[in-house]
Symmetry: D2
Subunit: 262 residues, 4 copies
């Protein structure tokens, strides 16, 4: 399916402020970017670079005043995410070198503290996809998904204690549980077609059967329409904005996803 | 200045043919890509990757029939290229690691055979920018620039013997001469505003005074309006199309560059 | 100064166990490896790779039985680490792209929770080296350095609450405090000449004045004799051993550092 | 088999001269470096870096006087190189991204000029390993291998005209022929057990059946005992020494390869 995605953001910047932005999707294994637009005002010098996870980022110093960022892309993505109940656990020694880092605990995914819970959730499951499926199901029925309920990222331990969270929070807990079973898992931020309420979204991917699969405990049914803009260990790596210095007031944050072709 | 550049290509493909394409400009030190569109028909699976020089490339297998590729970008680039007669030669030991490869001889730039000529051309010049300027001037007055005069890349030795060539040929000879003086030099392909006749273009960059500078013996005066789509050692690395298998007939090749804003 | 460093480890492996090891130092800006030996028994297939931080790692599956790893290197390193009280804070927009990741919070360095404490510790200090020096001094006088007091990594928040820790713990807190002030900081594990008791060691580096400087709150005076074997965001990235599966009993762990030449 | 390899070089340097050296073997898919020593005198500042092909290189400025480089390694390598007559040609669209560059023509391998000869040599051969085998056989019976017969690299075209060459020359022609058939091929320099006369050696690898295979037209029979120190497109990339400036006189060049264990 072909989606047109866009972000329309405006900020009130009180003093010159360095920004790092991650909002420009790239073509990859699961999506093709046919058209892409990225407009920042006022006119300023922008440096684009690729971070250690392969994400396209922009750096600039926003001057005092209103800052607007408008980005839109036309993206070909799958109508249904791939599901493969038979995808087996990949033994550590057979993981590709560049997947190994997704086994490590990270800021918001303290996987070193979740081994007991993960074993309980996945008891009697065949190692691999079915374990991750059990984790996703457990999240869906145990952690209440409440969009807008948190502003700052919370960690897997905190989410588990609180019992509720935003999309990012559920992803953090899902990732921590997977990694505690030695299943590589990573955070993804991006867009999702028909997300309600519409906003930027976060989900996770797990590496089983020799490739990455999408999991999203905030949704039901086997839906597709995902567009990735950033990958990383957790929300620390894939902040769509990192802004340094005094608080910046958000004046507008408007996200759209529209299907333009089959 | 803001330029809108575009390529509109059509080919007649007689049997399924693998292609590797390098036609999608990236934001970099000297240009910012605000808008980008890349359309290929018929609909097929495309893999986008970054090559060893940082260029964005697309791979696909074109089926039998007509293949069209249309790409366009809105690019902010300099109205005048930087000129710095005082930029000194950088001693080998002070070159960045990733610049060293641009000292090596390559397929079409046999720099290991040009030391005498380079010394003659640059006699009494201050090492650095002024040597490269002397090389550019020598090319301009010695090698006739005849657009359309060659189809396949010719090497620096061949160009020097022939005394004429297309933009790519002049760049090859300029690069070979620079490298023979231990000045790193690289090939660039892309667009140039007001190029006559309009087509894809090629020029070279030399590393002096701690950065890359643009040189183009096919043009006179200090003009800007360059948009890069690929960098490499020579035309072997920066072919805008690499096609494998039987000959593919070009049905259309239309390039435009228009100024859209100051 | 020239140091001969070595590790002599033995483990009792109960069932075939995948290992990832980070114990082979590399030549770098601050050290030159003249000689290097890395012996693993029994004989097995080993894959060596470079991780995302540039560390040299080895992967293998240890069979049931005794596993021994012996590694030794002759290393040229500085007799005194560089100290530069005048090294200024580097504004975010001037940091190199590949240093930016060291600003992010990580598993054991929750820098997003330390802004108040960092400001208190560094009040009236000139931004840059002097802030980091104040953090190191504060650590030295506030957190008791008790070698052997913890086995598993503890995070900056936990260390701050506990008031004591091993070298790794002090480094975690130092890193979190630096990052909360937007000073890039990274974890280093390796060897230190004359460390008492002798063991593998951990310290941190902060990026000020355009380069990395060594800080180590466990030592007093301006000493050198550091040999790095791994860099990363925190102990999650720079574990000298990652072992997957059932517990492995350590039979021997013997570390030596000897000066062999001036 | 376990080999102890060593280089013992001495040069008379007339004025301070920048060097780039590629003589330190790395562990890889086909070899494991257990011990490694790299000694340069006089004492000077050395920077070690990894080039674009993954080779470990050292940069330094040799002062006036005698320069000695001594390097030795203990290496586990195969007693027999892998042979697989059934390894098929890999279609372009199935080659890994990072193998694609080995299809391109390069300084000393003008593969764009060898299509007719390659087709003649490999007529009726099954695409893949058997084509490369035919090329190796053709080289062995057509191009006389005369160690020491050339000092500077010569290109595939020149070697083909001359009908004789050193190991490097035969490799260049073999690589050019493979690439002209769209088979990725790369140059390797290193050591070979029982090479006569003993010296540094060069051979080539071709990518068929999903991996690299060793080919060496200078040897007969299926031997092993290869130790790689550098990979690249051709001799331009894998010079064991690149020295910039006035001629440096070689005083000693002594290479040894000894079997130390089975």
């Amino acid at each position: 399916m072909w989606l047109r995605v866009s972000c329309d953001f405006a900020f009130d910047v009180e003093s010159p402020t360095p920004f790092i932005v991650m909002l420009r999707p790239r073509s990859g294994a699961e999506q093709w970017i046919e058209r892409d637009e990225f407009k920042i005002a006022p006119n300023m010098s922008i440096i684009e670079f690729t971070d250690g996870y392969g994400n396209l980022c922009q750096r600039f110093v926003a001057p005092k005043g209103e800052l607007t960022i408008y980005t839109t892309s036309d993206v070909k993505t799958s109508e249904f995410v791939d599901v493969n109940f038979g995808a087996p656990f990949v033994e550590i020694q057979h993981l590709p070198n560049d997947v190994l880092c997704y086994l490590l605990p990270s800021r918001y995914c303290e996987s070193d503290r979740f081994n007991d819970l993960a074993n309980t959730i996945t008891v009697n499951k065949i190692p691999g996809y079915q374990q991750v499926q059990a984790i996703e199901d457990w999240l869906r029925y145990t952690i209440s998904y409440i969009p807008g309920s948190s502003v700052y990222p919370t960690s897997a331990i905190e989410v588990n204690q609180k019992g509720s969270g935003v999309c990012r929070d559920l992803a953090h807990l899902g990732i921590a549980l997977c990694r505690s079973l030695s299943i590589p898992a990573r955070m993804v931020v991006g867009y999702l077609h028909n997300l309600k309420p519409m906003d930027m979204h976060a989900w996770f991917e797990a590496y089983v059967g020799g490739r990455w699969y999408v999991f999203d405990a905030t949704q039901t049914g086997v839906k597709g329409g995902y567009v990735s803009v950033g990958y990383g260990l957790d929300a620390a790596d894939v902040a769509i904005f990192n802004q340094f210095g005094p608080v910046v007031h958000t004046l507008k944050q408007h996200v759209t996803v529209t299907q333009i072709k089959n």
